[in-house]
Symmetry: C3
Subunit: 273 residues, 3 copies
């Protein structure tokens, strides 16, 4: 039940360690608070082990990585792994630069990731190996559409199996899968793409969901995707004349702040395949 996943966040107030980009970090912190979690940000290598030790989960986002923070990601990740904390990787820009692709790939190889959440291009880059976009799965369409859905589901399950992580691909249609089951989610609005960092926000919130639902990671990750999409729908319903993407950003976080588990359960639009 998605409701239970959300209620568990509100009840347990998970402390989430975020090593995330400086572009969207404020919104990530506010959406974590909105959903009932508590955020801490720290990327200094000499600080991250202590910080991750007092947290319940780790959110790694490479959106504005630098050599110093990359070292922090590995140190925090190893400690989180040692402590059995869920770890989420958001491979922002994997495929766009060698450093991003290599860093995401190494994080995936060296850490027992719980969830990898990205757009289709980022996930394909990780699935196909570092430095190439012409790998064996190149026939998977770039965008997940109703037409390409069957192949996309096959792809995401195969990558979940190979990576031993839950894989979340977000876009017009969202897919959240482990090796056997795939949530196909149709919440959200296209206008969310005009806001910077809705993906980063989702990664932060998803880390809270999987931290509060460690034994039910697949459903928890799917619940976070549904919550984000539903917030996009609710936030849009509150838009008034003259409002644009900056106000829409606020309204989406506001919608998470006001959302109940029951509303999530009712508003979620998904099928399992």
């Amino acid at each position: 039940m998605l409701k239970d996943c959300f209620d568990n966040v509100r009840a347990s107030v998970p402390l989430v360690h975020n090593i995330t980009n400086y572009v969207t970090v404020n919104d990530v912190a506010n959406i974590l608070l909105a959903c009932g979690a508590s955020p801490i940000m720290s990327d200094e290598p000499e600080d991250v082990v202590d910080i991750t030790s007092i947290c319940g989960g780790l959110n790694i986002n490479i959106g504005t990585l630098n050599k110093h923070s990359v070292e922090g990601m590995f140190r925090a990740g190893r400690k989180a792994a040692e402590l059995g904390h869920p770890i989420l990787l958001d491979p922002v820009g994997a495929g766009a630069s060698t450093l991003r692709t290599d860093t995401a790939t190494r994080l995936m190889e060296e850490l027992p990731l719980t969830v990898i959440r990205g757009n289709i291009s980022e996930i394909k880059t990780l699935a196909h190996g570092s430095g190439t976009t012409k790998g064996v799965d190149a026939d998977v369409a770039d965008a997940v559409t109703e037409e390409t859905l069957p192949q996309a589901i096959e792809f995401v399950k195969a990558f979940a199996k190979k990576s031993n992580a839950v894989i979340a691909i977000t876009g017009a249609i969202d897919l959240v899968a482990d090796a056997k089951r795939c949530f196909v989610i149709r919440n959200g609005r296209a206008e969310m793409g005009k806001i910077t960092g809705t993906g980063c926000q989702l990664s932060g919130m998803m880390t809270a969901f999987i931290t509060a639902n460690k034994d039910n990671v697949l459903e928890a990750a799917a619940a976070a995707v549904c919550a984000m999409g539903l917030a996009g729908e609710i936030g849009w319903a509150h838009m008034q004349a003259g409002d644009g993407n900056s106000t829409y950003r606020n309204r989406i976080i506001d919608a998470i702040c006001n959302m109940t588990g029951d509303e999530l359960e009712k508003g979620a639009k998904y099928e399992i395949r």
Copy 2:
């Protein structure tokens, strides 16, 4: 008079140098502008001495410290001390990691801090010495409540005396004290805790207040606390259906932007003990 403290900010437009975390820095800048001050951010060690030299006050916040910015904090702090500028320390996360505790402690030892502002846990960590939360004052309750108020006031005055700084502890009840007098402040709303960075914003604004009121630091610090709490009350009164923590953040800064010294004087809820 709190009114005068606020009016002095608006009249003198103090330039405040902020070495602060990247999570809440935008809101810190906007609230400084809202209250009538002018913010500058710089953490590069080779830049901070020049920047602090053209400013009137220094706000040091260790929320996302790194080794490079910590060096910047000390260089800026020494220069500010040399120039007689007020220096505020916000020891974010002191007690949560060795690096944070040590850095805050060293800053306190090496710089003539004007104000230290934090939550009760952070202040207790600094008061009890680095690396321990089991110090001599461990019987001070973690939260300041009506029941623990007398001991808390004793504690904050004692720490103010020992540290030779004004100490501001913010929470459900706020305390702002020097060695002899303690402002007990009851403005604000619990919902402010659902917004990231209201503490950081307060530290920024408080630096402006003490910079514009160098000869009246205790009252200026208390005035900033009252202003923030009152803004939380005014902002909340403007909340509409569907609004949540992200919009509330905007409304609090907006309330500071529109607040007059007279309104602060009338709306402040405090006693001196």
Copy 3:
């Protein structure tokens, strides 16, 4: 036609690489999305060459420069130059510190800048040479007013000629000039100065405009200035009781999000001298 400049942004969706400060970066990203462009942020020296290679234009803002990101600025700038991408420099705080003045000056000397956008003090610092504000043009008034306008226009054209870049000076009256022509723009509101980062936002958006209008840089830069000022006017018209600078920030970005090329053409207030 300013309309065409804006329409070209919306039609071509330019990808803009931003090396910008962490204070206002979120608003920069959101205004780039609002105007129809796509933002990427990266300042790590080992990342920037790849990132700039997939982009169309480069926005360099030294607002919170550090030694690491300064190296990133030069590497990205050299690659952008090699690829023929437009490069905009926003010399935030030039004149306020030696590091900022020197960095801006070196960037100007070593890179074929397309546009330099700043306030009058920053531009004067660059025009007069590093480390001095008492250069040969010291008789140019600090603020551009109706009284000092003729001299200011002469100054900006001369500096545009000398620097071989379009120069944009923003303030109460905005000037955008090459060696021969100067747009004198009277859009905007004084209250925009109470928001942090309207200048940074303009620099980001201007980079999108010149990237989408590479053969018409002067007019594109002027169009961006008019759009920002007009958004300030439209956003202000939507302000309600209790709103302040934080909400105004949202409303300005919202106004860009909703603005059409036709509205820009009609609302722009400029003369060419």
